[in-house]
Amino acid sequence: MNWFFHIGRYYIMMSRVFSKPEKWSIYRKQFIKEIDNLGLGSLGIVVIISIFMGAVITIQSAFGFESPWIPLYAVGVASRDSIVLEFSPTIVSLILAGKVGSSIASEIGTMRVTEQIDALEIMGINSKAYLILPKIAAAVFINPFLIVISMFLALLGGLTAGLMTGAVTPYEFIYGIQYDFRPFNVTYALIKTLFFAFIITSVSAYHGYYTQGGSLEVGKSSTNAVVYSSIVILLFNFILTQILLS
């Protein structure tokens, strides 16, 4: 089956996802459950990865700038830009695509193959909206917080690494972080994050929802969810960067 088929079916699915909920109170409950599940559940991995990647980014920048002509605070500038522009919004989103995407696809895929989705439909519930809308809403709501936390912790990791290795002093690092700071870069990162959150949840839900067969296929759907949401994230990273930074 080709890309056009999937894009068409994805589009039809999404038009059903965004229809009026049967009952707001139930959707609100699901939304809160998903924030807990998708947001708080991912906090641990985001924290660990951000601290260590921030440290590595800083050490690598310092390594590249070992020249008397370049001021040491440039390490802070370079680390900040890598972290804010690319590491936190894109790389962390890709990692979330792996974690959140596979869990969404296998959850919905299992519901499909065990007829739970059919059961919802028979009750007169719009299963697409009921299962997918709260997930999209929760991720779009919570991921910006995760990304901001990631930025902060990555910079903190950089600062600590600079101090521990002696590559850059905290004073110069912090000076570098503030040097020629453009608030728009953070806006750009958050815009990307919103798009990526939408992509991760909707593409993964799509793969789960249209699973056919049994547990083997659920596994395949969950792999496909990660692969395709990552590809689409990379594609949109390129497009959004072209639009927002040029």
Partner: protein, 255 residues
């Protein structure tokens, strides 16, 4: 009343249902029987719109289901209670929450009222001890009973049961049969039951349709099913030694 008219359904060119016509009457327990793989589940799923028929019509009280739009279908579906062959319980919810789920979605009942109703339905299927357990923690037969409780929680106008008593012990099986039979006349609803179980056929079969090779081979009442001329139905009914012996006795008495 549900009318099935000229329904054909095939998968990948392989014909499963071939020109099916049945009238399922209101206030009666309508049975669909047939061998494993004969297309009973496919027929039921086609009737509720989970499969799309290749051709033919499904008519709910004069309304042609296939021609309705999404919202009108939803209205009919709210009146349908369905028991899936595999139970199809929501595994993120407890037994009690499963039964309460349609109530919470479509009624304005308070939580306490929903609990009461769930408790009532679970009691009717003789399951009073599993309220707080998750589907993964209960047995196959218990799942089936929870699924029945969920199907009847909204007082459906149409009740679809795909093998309600497979996997149940004889006593519980009879209990479920009686429950379905009682509800049907009590609430005057249209009930459709798929079964293999000859005991159920003889107990509750007001209207029986025998599905064979994609067609309705025989239709009739439970009193007629033992004395039919259809060779295929006879093979189905008298498959077991027990039934064969029973038949011998019956014919002896007849002499």
């Amino acid at each position: 009343m549900i009318e099935v008219k000229n329904i054909c359904k095939s998968f990948n060119g392989k014909s499963i249902l071939n020109d099916i016509n049945i009238v399922f009457e209101k206030g009666k327990t309508n049975l669909i029987i047939g061998e494993s793989g004969s297309g009973k589940t496919v027929l039921m799923k086609t009737m509720v719109g989970l499969f799309t028929a290749d051709s033919g019509d499904i008519i709910y009280e004069g309304k042609n289901f296939n021609k309705l739009n999404f919202d009108d279908r939803k209205e009919i579906r709210k009146e349908i209670g369905m028991l899936f062959q595999g139970g199809a319980l929501f595994d993120s919810l407890t037994v009690e929450e499963n039964v309460m789920f349609p109530l919470s979605m479509f009624t304005n009942m308070t939580l306490a009222e929903q609990r009461d109703r769930a408790d009532f339905c679970l009691t009717r299927v003789n399951l009073q001890t599993a309220h707080k357990l998750y589907p993964a923690e209960i047995s196959g037969g218990m799942k089936k009973r929870v699924a029945i409780a969920r199907a009847i929680s909204m007082n459906p106008k149409y009740l679809f049961c795909d093998e309600p008593n497979s996997g149940l012990d004889p006593k519980t099986s009879i209990l479920i049969d009686n429950l379905i039979y009682e509800l049907t006349s009590e609430l005057n609803i249209t009930t459709i039951v798929i079964t293999h179980d000859m005991n159920s056929v003889m107990e509750i079969g007001d209207n029986i349709s025998f599905l064979y090779k994609g067609q309705i081979n025989w239709q009739g009442h439970r009193d007629e099913v033992m004395r039919t001329n259809s060779e295929e139905l006879n093979n189905f009914v008298y498959a077991s030694e027990f039934m064969k012996k029973l038949k011998q006795r019956l014919t002896h008495h007849g002499d």
